[in-house]
């Protein structure tokens, strides 16, 4: 018998499965669950985008593209980035089309992190950063954000964690799971600390088109930060294209050149039909985005109001499609709360600690669902909350 465990690379064996995975298994084992637990839009991909993919198939465009992506797509990404952020990226040397934002994150970390390098990971956050850093032999250093700061990264907490070994700051805003955004002023304070250092920034802006009440600002727009920023974005959240697996990285040419090598050996190129679809998305779907954003905004407002009414304190998230209420008043831990809610009321939400230790005491509720669905789930959460209060 082969002892597989012995043969697996140490760093892979040591990698912990995502905390969400455990909850996913619990939820899946039950029937009749109402879920507010997903991290992907409920809208359909705009029809014209689907049509563009069908057309590309009909025309037989089923071959590899250039490693970095279709030139039409690279140009559209470049135009869009300039129009939205005022930042110029050369489509030939500074943009790579990746398999989702996820591949962009992976490639960026692998291109930068040497064993022993410290990587600052702003938490709570999406689950993939630290495991990839560890896989590269790097040391993930969590930088907590706090409810009292509206889950923004504060200069003080950042500064405390910078050492001579710090290589990279991972900055994920608008944030999954908290829904927090960083304003221009917030980012300026961060830029001031990084200016003059050798610390690079991986800015995961996958939710950039979903901000409410203010336009998204990227750290790359602040001062001379563009030269140290790898910007990750994609089509999943903005255009409701999660299954198409398409994202991109924009970065200074010397960094892009290195990352492209990894992309080239590991992936070759992103799916061709998805790339044709993405060209259409960038060219003609601004109105679809606007419509989706307006609807998310209404649900967001409804949900924040309802949660505060039933006594789960909830700061007003200004981005993404999550709210992150505190459940500390119930006296339960995040996992106890979520497991009991699942057991007794058949509602699935995600425990905050799945997104880092600082998420303890919170739960993530997604509003990528119809209002009717959200209302039904919240009715049940309300029953649960009032039952806890009674003791």
């Amino acid at each position: 018998m082969i002892d597989y465990d012995k043969l697996i690379a140490d760093k892979c064996r040591e990698m912990k499965p995502s905390g969400i995975r455990k909850f996913f298994d619990l939820a899946n084992a039950r029937e009749g669950i109402i879920s507010l637990g997903v991290g992907e839009p409920d809208f359909q991909t705009p029809w014209s985008v689907r049509q563009a993919a069908i057309t590309s198939l009909e025309r037989g465009r089923t071959k590899y593209t250039a490693n970095k992506g279709l030139s039409e797509l690279l140009q559209e990404i470049s135009k869009k980035t300039e129009a939205q952020l005022g930042l110029k990226y050369d489509p030939d040397s500074e943009i790579i089309v990746t398999v989702g934002g996820s591949e962009g994150i992976d490639v960026a970390i692998r291109a930068l992190v040497n064993p022993g390098d410290e990587v600052l990971v702003v938490e709570p956050c999406f689950v993939c950063y630290s495991p990839i850093v560890s896989l590269c032999g790097g040391v993930p250093v969590p930088v907590p954000t706090r409810a009292e700061d509206n889950f923004k990264l504060t200069p003080a907490l950042l500064k405390e964690r910078i050492t001579s070994k710090t290589k990279l700051l991972i900055l994920p805003f608008p944030n999954n799971p908290t829904g927090a955004v960083m304003t221009r002023e917030d980012l300026e304070a961060i830029a001031e600390i990084l200016d003059g250092t050798d610390i690079l920034i991986l800015s995961d802006e996958i939710y950039s088109s979903l901000t409410y009440g203010s336009e998204h600002v990227s750290i790359a727009q602040i001062g001379n930060m563009q030269e140290r920023t790898i910007l990750v974005n994609g089509f999943s959240k903005a255009y409701s294209m999660t299954g198409w697996r398409l994202g991109y990285i924009a970065a200074p040419a010397p960094l892009a050149k290195q990352m492209l090598k990894i992309h080239q050996y590991a992936i070759m190129c992103s799916p061709t039909m998805s790339q044709y679809a993405a060209v259409e998305a960038l060219r003609s779907c601004d109105r679809d985005i606007e419509k989706m954003r307006a609807e998310y905004d209404q649900r967001r407002r409804w949900l924040v109001h309802a949660l505060n009414r039933i006594g789960l304190d909830c700061f007003e998230p200004k981005g993404a499609f999550y709210v992150f209420p505190s459940i500390k008043s119930t006296g339960l831990s995040s996992e106890e709360f979520c497991e009991t809610l699942l057991d007794k009321y058949s509602v699935a939400v995600v425990p905050g600690n799945a997104f880092g230790a600082t998420g303890e005491g919170f739960i993530r509720i997604s509003y990528a669902y119809s209002l009717k669905h959200i209302q039904t789930a919240v009715e049940r959460i309300e029953k649960f909350a009032s039952e806890i209060k009674k003791g």
Binding site: N28, A348, A354
Partner: protein, 159 residues
């Protein structure tokens, strides 16, 4: 359309408090705005959108294309007004295209609808011709899926 109207159009059962939260207005402002819309006719009424009840054999809906001669001074309005005053008629719409008025109506059975068209609608002065179509099944109505709602294929929990 303003946000309040579009919210009510999709779900008229949202409370004033909920509507206020969703639009960012105060509850008082929201209530006043709704009253204003009701008074100035921007809101005509509220109703439930029902699913198809196939066990109810005493109901049939027809869609009738009506061609008419417009009258000097009144255009299509006068005849439209006459048609909409019939109790059986649900909706009357002036159309561009190969006919003039689209009329929908409900009756208890095909015969009743047929007789209405033959005796009351076709005989109106100014009606040139009618073409009656019966509704077999609704798939979507007023923005609601009546039949064929697709299931949420997303997993229950995902990062």
């Amino acid at each position: 359309m303003d946000t309040l109207l579009s919210l009510l159009k999709n779900n008229a059962r949202l409370s004033v408090e909920e509507l206020a939260a969703m639009t960012g207005m105060t509850a008082e402002e929201t209530a006043a705005k709704i009253q204003e819309y009701e008074e100035n006719g921007k809101i005509k009424g509220y109703r439930a959108v029902l699913g198809d009840d196939f066990s109810d054999t005493n109901s049939v809906t027809a869609f009738i294309e009506v061609k008419i001669t417009p009258k000097a001074d009144f255009g299509f309005d006068e005849l439209a007004k006459k048609i909409m005053s019939f109790e059986e008629v649900d909706s009357v719409t002036l159309m561009a295209g190969s006919f003039d008025l689209a009329v929908t109506l409900s009756g208890t059975n095909y015969k009743e609808v047929a007789l209405f068209v033959a005796r009351r609608l076709s005989t109106l002065d100014g009606v040139i011709s009618t073409s009656t179509h019966f509704v077999l099944k609704r798939y979507k109505d007023s923005g609601f899926v009546i039949d064929g709602e697709s299931e949420d294929e997303r997993s229950l929990v995902a990062p």
